[in-house]
């Protein structure tokens, strides 16, 4: 326990805040602490978590990606046409295509960043606009409803009828989320490549001198982020049963905020999968709570903004500094 607190200070703090928030909401609203509410929270946030763990890898490597949500929309369109072209497809092909298209879009970012030595925020703002512009131009803003049935039919993994007759259910995206989290955790914690990503984000010059291939690091980070974005896009359409070109634009900032809330550092070198999950969940629970308490939805964003500001500004305060050890040379 002590070692967990020490190794994951942000995550521990976040978990504590989340538990307090949950306790408060349980007391305030009878609808909060219910199986139905919890499963729907998970279902509704699976896509954000998948994006978040992808973005996490980029942040760890010292970059930032603004384009992934739009990339997910692009992947959705490409998938609709690709599935039509091959005569339907199935889930296996679906994941392969969505992940593959996403990976390709991510590698475009990595290539531009590495080849022309442009900082990632500039590159991904550009590709954000380019992807979105191309998508709107070629789709003419049309919605697509002709999804293959395997894609649009709700896959329920587990369901349970509660005492008052309502159904609690867990749908496919939640399982996919769990797999993406596990895979990202293995990548960043359990492989040498992952540790090199941390090192590269932490001290690029030091990493270079140690002989870490910089181009490869960028490709892995942005490729992974793109792949996760593609998979998230596939899951998003599975939930909404349609493809809307401008449905996802804007979500990137929401996810970015949640990941940073979860302890990832914009300077690189820090961040964890658990933190991502808790970050997304904290934002989601807050919104959910405000909703249950009957607060105007217009206030949501404001409250979320304040929470993030508080979290970020308190994370730079070190309680150890308040006691003892005054000015040192």
């Amino acid at each position: 326990m002590h070692s967990f607190l020490r190794a994951y200070p942000t995550e521990s703090k976040l978990l504590a805040v989340l538990l307090i928030l949950c306790a408060g909401l349980s007391a305030a609203s009878p609808d909060f602490l219910t199986l139905v509410n919890f499963t729907s929270l998970l279902n509704n946030n699976a896509v954000n978590v998948i994006w978040a763990v992808g973005l996490l890898v980029v942040l760890i490597a010292g970059g930032i990606d603004i384009s992934f949500a739009v990339a997910a929309s692009v992947v959705q369109y490409l998938c609709v046409y690709a599935f039509a072209a091959i005569g339907g497809g199935n889930w296996a092909i679906g994941f392969l295509f969505a992940g593959g298209f996403g990976l390709a879009l991510g590698l475009i970012n990595a290539f531009l960043i590495h080849q022309f030595r442009i900082i990632s925020i500039v590159v991904t703002i550009s590709t954000f606009n380019a992807f979105f512009g191309l998508l709107m131009f070629f789709s003419s803003g049309r919605f697509l409803y002709n999804l293959p049935s395997w894609w649009s039919q709700r896959v329920i993994l587990w369901e349970y009828q509660t005492a008052n007759g309502t159904w609690a259910e867990v749908i496919l995206p939640v399982a996919v989320m769990a797999v993406c989290m596990a895979a990202t955790w293995v990548l960043i914690r359990r492989t040498t490549t992952g540790r090199q990503l941390y090192a590269f984000g932490d001290n690029p010059e030091g990493a270079r001198r140690a002989g870490i291939p910089i181009g490869l690091m960028q490709a892995i980070a942005f490729g992974w982020c793109g792949m996760m974005a593609g998979i998230a896009g596939l899951m998003q359409s599975h939930i909404t049963k349609e493809v809307v070109p401008n449905a996802l634009v804007g979500r990137e900032l929401e996810v970015l905020a949640a990941v940073v809330l979860g302890g990832a550092r914009l300077g690189g070198g820090r961040g964890s999968v658990l933190g991502c999950f808790l970050g997304v969940l904290l934002v989601a629970v807050t919104q959910n709570g405000l909703n249950l308490l009957g607060v105007s939805p217009y206030a949501f964003k404001m409250v979320v903004g304040i929470i993030i500001l508080l979290a970020i500004s308190t994370s730079n305060l070190d309680p150890a500094k308040w006691f003892g050890k005054g000015g040192k040379a």
């Binding site: 359990r190 040498t192 992952g194 941390y198 090192a199 550092r265 820090r270 005054g326 040379a329």
Partner: protein, 500 residues
């Protein structure tokens, strides 16, 4: 400690030359390090030290005709990878460590390299780190995040990391630059341990005292040539300085009795946790030395005198007038100037031009019509100070980062002298400045004092204040514990008191 060169030399280089754009950076240099020897590479900035290290580590290729032998094996060409494989490691000043990773991961980082992904075993990382630290006889918390460690311990981590990659010859570039005396002692003892276990260490340092203390031989470079290789036994600091600069410097005490009135009077100044009950007076035209170990509270005191922090108790009087600073803007307005110890980060804006840096403190005074900056006034101010302090520059429009340490320090001085101060606080003005350039800076300091400026000279190098100050205050643990007159108290006595 002294494993003098034997048949099995770690490194035997000769005939090394390197030409950059027609300029000979290195000219027929020979460099030999015995196995397990602690060797020092001494010389002023620009003498070719770093070029030589870069050739040895394979970063640069020498001109044809070089003979290079590492641990008995001949090389016609060395790449960085070859140098590493041969057992050569460099610990650069910035250490190239990873602040967010744990100590164990930093030490065992080598085991995580390679393009093919492999699984990471944290147990193995730990055992590798433990083994490396055991070789240094040092105990560190393996799970601590590196960023939370003081610089001195990070240095140990960097050394341990070099050992993990089987280094048998470690170059250390200015390893003690930011260490306190006790940390330096700890580092030197680690170096001795290394040497005793057969790892050769090449020390590159400006601090001559510790060079003489730790190494058995010293190779002196000047203008790209080897002046000679000398045993450190019997070598004195002043002789080594002469060898490095090629000129002999007066090591005379400059102290005299300034006759001017008191300018700055400090009485009972106290700030909790930083300094305690500080009282002294500073006269017109006086150079008052303030020495003590790093952490004694010298810089903190300067910060208060310059209005950056506020004292809890006590008073500061300037020319008979009570001072109450709300910020350092007030201090500047009252005629106090502060040259900070961290020139690179705080004293200069590295990317801006020499001219812009010089006028930064006096922007209000160089405005012309409509309150806009006047190019003419700016030029006049800049050229006045450049000639006054004889700063060697290309053009005033060049970035200040293109200047040498000594010249950068002069630009900092110019910036503050332009404010026409009455009191100048000089906080370690020679950090990172060559021996030769130091003399130039102290000549300026002395000349300024002759013109009536009251100067507080802070330095952790006792010889500096001994030679250049009229009076010396000794600060320890936040208090002034002694006052010396260099004409009566000898250098060795002062050093013994300060470094005790």
């Amino acid at each position: 400690m002294t494993a003098v060169a034997t048949a099995a030399d770690a490194l035997r280089f000769s005939g090394i030359a390197k030409i950059f754009g027609g300029v000979k950076a290195l000219d027929d240099v020979s460099f030999t390090v015995g196995a397990g020897e602690v060797h020092c590479l001494a010389g002023e900035n620009g003498c070719g030290k770093s070029t030589l290290i870069k050739i040895i580590t394979g970063v640069y290729q020498p001109e044809p005709g070089a003979r290079m032998e590492i641990f008995g094996q001949d090389y016609t060409q060395i790449s960085p990878t070859q140098a590493r494989k041969a057992g050569i490691a460099v610990i650069w000043q910035d250490l190239a460590l990873f602040a967010e990773m744990t100590v164990a991961e930093n030490i065992a980082f080598e085991t995580m390299l390679g393009n093919r992904p492999r699984g990471v075993s944290y147990a193995r990382l730990r055992s590798v780190a433990v083994a490396a630290l055991a070789r240094l006889d040092v105990d560190l918390d393996l799970d601590a995040r590196l960023g939370t460690l003081p610089i001195a311990q990070r240095q140990i981590v960097a050394i341990a990391r070099a050992l993990v990659s089987d280094a048998r010859l470690i170059f250390m570039d200015e390893p003690t630059a930011s260490l306190t005396q006790s940390e330096t002692d700890a580092l030197l003892s680690v170096v001795r341990t290394l040497s005793a276990r057969g790892v050769a260490v090449v020390f590159v340092s400006h601090r001559l005292a510790e060079v003489l203390d730790i190494s058995s031989r010293v190779t002196v470079l000047r203008d790209g040539k080897v002046v000679g290789v000398f045993p450190t036994e019997g070598m004195t600091q002043s002789h080594l300085t002469e060898l490095m600069t090629g000129t002999s410097f007066a090591h005379d005490v400059m102290a005299r009795d300034p006759s001017g009135p008191d300018v700055l009077r400090v009485e009972g100044l106290t700030r909790a946790g930083e300094y305690d009950d500080i009282s002294f007076t500073l006269r017109e035209g006086e150079v008052l030395g303030l020495t003590g170990l790093i952490g004694a509270g010298r810089t903190e005191l300067c910060h208060t005198l310059f209005g950056m922090t506020r004292a809890d108790r006590g008073r500061i009087t300037l020319n008979g007038q009570h001072l109450h600073f709300r910020s350092n803007r007030d201090a500047v307005a009252q005629g106090i100037a502060y040259v900070s110890e961290d020139r690179l980060a705080l004293g200069l804006i590295q990317l801006q031009s020499i001219a812009d840096n010089t006028v930064l403190s006096v922007l209000r005074q160089i405005t012309g019509a409509g309150g806009l900056l006047s190019a003419q006034k700016k030029e006049a101010t800049v050229s006045h100070w450049i000639s006054e302090l004889s700063v060697k520059i290309g053009k005033p429009a060049d970035a200040v980062s293109t200047l040498s340490g000594g010249n950068q320090q002069r630009v900092v001085l110019a910036k503050w002298l332009a404010t026409a101060p009455k009191v100048l606080l000089l906080d370690c003005p020679t950090v990172g400045v060559d021996v030769g350039a130091r003399a130039g800076i102290f000549r300026i300091v002395r000349a300024l004092a002759e013109k009536g400026l009251a100067i507080l000279l802070v330095s952790d190098e006792v010889p500096e204040v001994y030679m250049n100050a009229d009076r010396v205050l000794h600060m320890a643990a936040g208090r002034i514990i002694a006052e010396w007159d260099p004409r009566q108290t000898g250098l060795s006595e002062m050093e013994a008191a300060v470094y005790a």
